[in-house]
């Protein structure tokens, strides 16, 4: 029986889940950083190229705007310097046009680039990329200039950026780096998870070692990480409960066997003896009668055990009605009236209450308690029922001034077949199931019972029931 529904995700092991989640997180982070770095490199390259071109444009503008054309300077700027860059990665070309797009001066070889002419209307600085017919990439700045005679014109500077372009567009290394990091994070995730789960596997191993025969074993929470200590202590507590009910169950079955063995042994013995020789009818009758009494005892015991086992069935749905607590108690008091009078015990009950419960079970509970009280209260004693109720609970207090129960018996008083004094109980005909039945009836009504007792002074029993259906908080 599983307490929760299981969906598909829950079937994937924690280890796989952690490994995957860790790898995804690590890989995403690495990929992001890589992409950012790539993007930043492209940016820096562009900025450097742009700055270089700008500087060239500025130098030419400076030469032109000096009001006197130093042709030598201009030649230096437009032809010589660019020519010097032949073979370098900063290979660039310059051309100067007048306002009719007639070439004034240009770096030799610029023809091959096939730069288009600036449009007549747009007199502003422009930057663009140019893919030439020779299959090379250029970064171009085109800027309006003015000559000495205030004639307008253009300067175009083109930088061959094919190399940068080739380097940046080749993303092979980035891809390889990403693939490697993906594998690395997967491996790392696997390793870290395995390490992290080590204590969990250890715990599993410990739990597996606990069997029916070693229920006393506990797991030491100090050997495990903090997250697991709570789980382990909860588990240990569960083991405590299982162990105690297991011990009870074992005790119960051995007690039951013992209780059954006694009457059956008696009957067997008596019957064997009477059959071994001829006896008179009266003797046979005597044995039969004695056997009948034992049968009744066994049958009585079976009835009580059956009641207890049924009461333990969680599916048991008992029929409940509104009960007048004082009427039910009065009914049982009346039943025991004659018996109490014999011992001159006074039985009184005070208070009234309404309770939602099962009438037969409630009477049975009161019956068992009262029967005990009368049994263990001396001549001229008293037994008092006090019923109290508030909006949420009904409290029934049963007090007597009987012989009481010694401290050491109190914790086990509700156990099946537990008897404070077996010799006395044998005499009084009890089979040690009365209080166990009381307890199970109270449990079925979600109530609670406490017994306070002082030997030779008396016993006080407090029973608390919730008034409406539900559990007692």
């Amino acid at each position: 029986m599983y307490l929760n529904n299981v969906n598909f995700l829950n079937k994937v092991s924690i280890r796989t889940r952690f490994t995957l989640l860790y790898s995804i997180a690590a890989f995403s982070l690495l990929a992001l950083i890589t992409i950012f770095l790539y993007w930043e490199s492209v940016n820096i390259l562009y900025k450097t190229d742009y700055q270089f071109l700008s500087d060239q444009v500025d130098a030419i503008e400076y030469a032109l705007e000096n009001k006197q054309i130093h042709l030598a300077d201009l030649k230096q700027q437009v032809i010589d310097e660019p020519m010097d860059t032949e073979g370098s990665i900063y290979k660039y070309y310059v051309r100067i046009l007048d306002d009719k797009n007639k070439i004034v001066m240009e770096t030799p070889g610029i023809h091959s680039i096939n730069l288009f002419n600036p449009g007549p209307k747009t007199r502003r600085k422009q930057t663009y990329r140019w893919h030439s017919s020779t299959d090379a990439n250029y970064l171009v700045i085109q800027s309006p200039i003015s000559f000495i005679d205030n004639q307008g014109g253009w300067v175009q500077v083109a930088l061959n950026i094919s190399w940068q372009h080739t380097v940046m567009s080749d993303r092979k290394y980035f891809t390889i780096a990403l693939i490697i990091s993906a594998f690395a994070s997967l491996l790392l995730g696997f390793y870290i998870t395995k390490r992290g789960m080590k204590s969990l596997y250890f715990l599993t191993h410990c739990v597996k070692n606990i069997t029916v025969t070693s229920l006393h074993q506990r797991i030491d929470p100090d050997t495990l990480p903090k997250e697991l200590t709570e789980l382990v202590s909860a588990f240990n507590q569960m083991l405590d409960r299982i162990e105690s009910s297991f011990v009870r169950l074992k005790q119960f079955s051995s007690d039951l066997a013992h209780e059954l063995r006694m009457p059956i042994n008696n009957m067997m013995g008596e019957t064997e003896i009477i059959l071994s020789r001829n006896h008179c009818a009266a003797e046979y009758q005597q044995v039969m009668l004695s056997n009948l009494e034992e049968y009744q005892r066994v049958s009585h015991m079976i009835e009580n055990i059956l009641f207890l086992s049924r009461a333990e069935n969680p599916q048991l749905d008992i029929e409940k009605t509104q009960l007048n607590v004082h009427e039910e108690i009065a009914c049982i008091c009346e039943y025991y009236e004659a018996m109490a009078e014999e011992k001159n015990i006074s039985i009184t009950h005070t208070g009234k209450a309404i309770l939602h419960g099962n009438s037969v079970m409630f009477r049975r509970m009161i019956n068992n308690l009262l029967s005990n009280a009368i049994k263990y209260t001396g001549i001229n004693g008293w037994i008092k029922f006090a019923i109290q109720s508030d909006t949420t609970h009904v409290c029934i207090q049963l007090s007597d001034n009987g012989i009481g129960i010694a401290k050491e018996h109190l914790p086990r008083i509700f156990d099946r077949f537990y008897r404070v004094d077996s010799a006395r109980s044998q005499q009084s005909g009890g089979i040690g199931l009365g209080l166990a039945i009381v307890k199970s009836i109270i449990d079925l009504h979600h109530g609670s019972i406490t017994i306070n007792s002082e030997p030779d002074t008396g016993t006080h029993i407090f029973i608390i029931f919730p008034r409406t259906k539900g559990t007692l908080s």
Binding site: L289, L292, E293, Q296, S299, H300, I302, E303, N304, L306, F307, R310, E319, C331, I332, E334, Y335, Y336, E337, A338, M339, E342, V360, R363, R364, N367, S371, G429
Partner: protein
């Protein structure tokens, strides 16, 4: 009086037959549901004792068939199934009573007699045996010439014993009839009550009427 027992457990059936024969009943036995149903439908019985779990045809089915054919015959269920639903089901299907195994034979006998009495004419208000007479309506009991001073419960107990003169009444049955204690309880209470009743009814008279049947219960009769 003719009784049919449908019971597959042969030992139970045998002792029931013996016990009922000795109590003056004619008894037929069927050890499976099919035979039981056949007998029940084709012979006039005053009472049928049915087990629920039976080979071939179960008790519920037999009961339904019997009720259709003979609405007046008394049916008593005798079974080891003791949950409330089964009991309710049995009674709803038309069973007249329901007894759970293990049971005391005296209890079964008392119930059978009650069931068979139900169909007879009601008893009169004044009942008498030997020199004891009781008036059920006026709650008066007289022994010889003396009026007996009884508490209401004592009177009820005496009335029960007188009404069932000659029948052995078990302690459980007495507790159930007089105090409405229909669960397993301390039956010493009944012994005490009977002892007190005897003090008032029998002690002063030589002709004792209330007798103890050891291991079974009490009976009121003239011996």
């Amino acid at each position: 009086m003719r009784i049919l027992i449908v019971e597959d457990e042969s030992k139970t059936a045998a002792y029931l037959r013996k016990g009922l024969n000795e109590s003056g009943f004619t008894v037929d036995i069927a050890d499976n549901g099919e035979d039981g149903l056949h007998l029940a439908l084709n012979h006039p019985y005053d009472l049928i004792i049915l087990d629920v779990m039976l080979p071939k045809v179960d008790g519920w089915t037999i009961l339904t068939a019997i009720r259709r054919a003979h609405p007046d015959v008394r049916v008593l269920f005798l079974t080891a199934r003791d949950n409330l639903e089964d009991k309710v089901k049995g009674l709803e299907l038309g069973a007249d009573d329901y007894l759970i195994k293990p049971f005391a034979f005296s209890e079964l006998l008392a119930r059978i007699r009650t069931l068979l009495r139900r169909s007879n004419t009601p008893q009169s208000d004044i009942l008498s045996i030997a020199d004891l007479s009781i008036d059920i309506v006026k709650h008066k009991a007289v022994r010889g010439k003396a009026r007996l001073h009884l508490s209401p419960k004592e009177f009820a107990l005496l009335a029960l014993l007188v009404q069932r003169t000659g029948e052995v009444l078990s302690r459980t049955l007495i507790a159930e009839c007089i105090w409405d204690i229909n669960f397993d309880s301390d039956t010493n209470v009944v012994d005490v009550a009977i002892r007190r009743l005897r003090q008032k009814v029998d002690d002063e008279f030589d002709n004792k009427l209330i007798h103890t049947v050891r291991g079974m219960g009490y009976v009121l009769e003239q011996r």
